[in-house]
């Protein structure tokens, strides 16, 4: 199979599964025994399981008897269902595996699957018996044929009965269709795009299949509130009853003090127009999380400082905004 970059794929397969629960694996940090390349490490929890060139692949020189991948959640989750997808390559198949469900460093449960995964990449449901609270899931490939790897791991939590999906963009199709750029830079420039910026420190740097902004765009309102650039999901109106917004933020520190780093990153919502909206942002440089409400162009803060935070540089965080 190819070891290249993922080609654009449709999102239909993932959309179907949201109705059956919420795939918490999308917000996990993967660790592996080895990886054919850095980017491969992140491809078993990216929501793509229908592309032949996408998935985690252990390094061919890996001497680990049983290659493994571990997904670490940002906090303890109640998981009731796990699915695994084999690499879509006839010559490569996982024939036996073990799943370790872990919480706070302790093994909670271990499942051994001796039946080979479907060789065409069809997800295999792994019954857990009952919902289980974990903060890590480790998949150990005990016996494989050909290249060792997995196309996708999904781990589902339950949603409320009336909780349906309003919209999603995993940016796996390689573009940002439906998003519209806004420039409020007082100085500097910006560029937005999917997969345009390498992150991490060599030799572990890679370019994620994510929606990214680069540049040194910055500015302040007359009231001294930081403004910059934002990308508006103009095609999707949010229900007036509220939303449960989940996304992953990732900020990279190049380590060069001359660069514009560690500034604000966040989400705007309730967006009526440029002068009327809400914003929640995180700034490593200023060490804050703030919620702002902009009315008539002015930006008073609703919560000036909730908590000081260390720099988010080089790290990721999952941000959930729930409102009703």
């Amino acid at each position: 199979m190819s070891d290249g970059i993922a080609a654009p794929v449709g999102l239909a397969a993932f959309a179907l599964r949201v109705a059956e629960g919420f795939n918490e694996a999308l917000y996990t940090e993967p660790n592996v025994s080895s990886s054919a390349n850095v980017r491969r490490r992140f491809q078993a929890n990216d929501g793509i399981d229908t592309d032949t060139s996408n998935g985690w692949v252990a390094d061919s020189g890996d001497t680990t008897p049983e290659p493994w991948i571990q997904l670490d959640f940002d906090s303890t989750k109640t998981i009731y269902r796990v699915t695994l997808s084999d690499l879509i390559a006839p010559a490569d198949q996982v024939e036996e595996l073990r799943i370790e469900l872990i919480n706070d460093g302790q093994l909670v449960s271990s499942l051994t699957i001796t039946e080979p995964l479907p060789n065409d990449g069809t997800p295999r449901d792994i019954p857990l018996g009952m919902p289980i609270q974990i903060d890590s899931i480790k998949v150990i490939l005990v016996k494989t044929r050909g290249i060792s790897g997995l196309a996708e791991i999904a781990a589902y939590s339950a949603l409320d009965a009336n909780q349906h999906k309003q919209a999603e963009d995993l940016f796996n199709d390689g573009d940002a269709a439906g998003w519209s750029l806004v420039n409020e830079c007082g100085s500097g420039f910006f560029d937005w795009g999917v997969g345009i910026d390498s992150i991490g420190v060599s030799p572990d740097d890679y370019t994620p299949q994510a929606y990214q902004q680069t540049g040194d765009c910055r500015g302040f309102t007359e009231g001294g509130v930081e403004i910059g650039t934002y990308s508006l999901l103009f095609s999707v109106p949010i229900a007036s009853s509220g939303m449960d917004l989940r996304l992953r933020l990732l900020e990279d520190d190049t380590g060069n003090p001359a660069d514009w780093i560690n500034g604000a990153i966040g989400v705007m919502f309730g967006f009526v127009d440029n002068d009327n909206n809400y914003r929640v942002d995180i700034s490593g440089l200023e060490g804050h999380r703030k919620l702002w409400r902009r009315q008539g162009g002015a930006l008073p803060s609703l919560t000036p400082v909730r908590k000081a935070i260390p720099s988010a540089s080089g790290s990721t965080c999952a941000l959930f905004i729930k409102m009703a």
Binding site: G228, G270, G284, P304
Partner: protein
Amino acid sequence: MDGEKIMAVEDDTFNGERIALFCARNESCSFDNVIILDPPSKPIVGVNIVDEDLNIADSTGHKAGEYFVSGGGTLDVSGVVTNDTDIGGIEFVVDEGSAGEMSETAIAAPYSAQFNFSPAGNHDVRAWLLDGALQRLPDAEAADELPLVDVNGIHLVGLRDDITAGLRDDNPGDDISLDGRNTGGGYQSVLNDLLTAGNLKPVTVLDEGNSGETSFGGAARIEQVLARTPAAQGYLVFYGVNDAIAGVTKDAFKTNMQQIITAVRDAGKAIFLAKAPPDLIDSVRDARIEEYNAAIVELVNNQANGFVGYAPPDFHAYFSDPLNGPDPSSVNDLMAADNLHPNGEGYRSMARLWCLELKGQLGIRIDMACP
């Protein structure tokens, strides 16, 4: 965020509309896996400390969080719940499980409570959602906690430009204060540690530094800064480098600083000025900075401005003296390579100089050590 509840606020003007992804002063923002679901029907509770002198029911009110420091001994606590249809109320508990535990239950919106304390100290504030029988609901979302709320402490705000924002700080080792309240580069975290150790009181030094700002910018935004920092007792203010670059005259600089002083005094708060550090790459601009610093002395000596027993820290003299800093042969050893912004050691020096001059102000101990 990362499984931690970070803030909750009530506001009745939200009406759906659109979402956007935001980035500023940040050359590497990445967003992934944006999923928008309907809101969960299970109630979620959040707890806030409402800053002084604000109406608790006012949706524009300022609400602070778990690392909050109050200068007074009263905490006004508010609870926010996403769906209170089947809720019997919110139980607020301070220092649960300790000998000094206090609790109040609010059974109807707006959910609020008030607690009073006498000595300075750290407190844990929790909110529990109650069912119709006033029993605590078991769900994780039915509880919230502010683990480090402090009363009778010292609450300061730094106002200036990118030096206050901590630009070019090359020492990440002191970027988080020992109490975890203040983070980011610059002098604030270090000053927090010095004041906390010297007074045995909780301290916070917040950052209101905006890159590139001149005294004009500070004067223009001071009213809004005051409005969004109602719990602050004092403001640490200095301008100079950007004014010099912009060619601001001494008179204009002095007028702007006077406007800031007047606004802060009118708000009933304390203000502490400092002499700006030098511009080591341009002697003309540096000469302007010395003029501004002379204006600072004039403003501090003006009795109408209310500076009592206070001398502004002289960053200019300190940073211009080669004997200060690790290399006695150089005046550049406290500055970053751009010779405009302090480096990590420079920021530590600024914190110590602030500490020395804040003695005796705002109840800060006169015999405090500022090592």
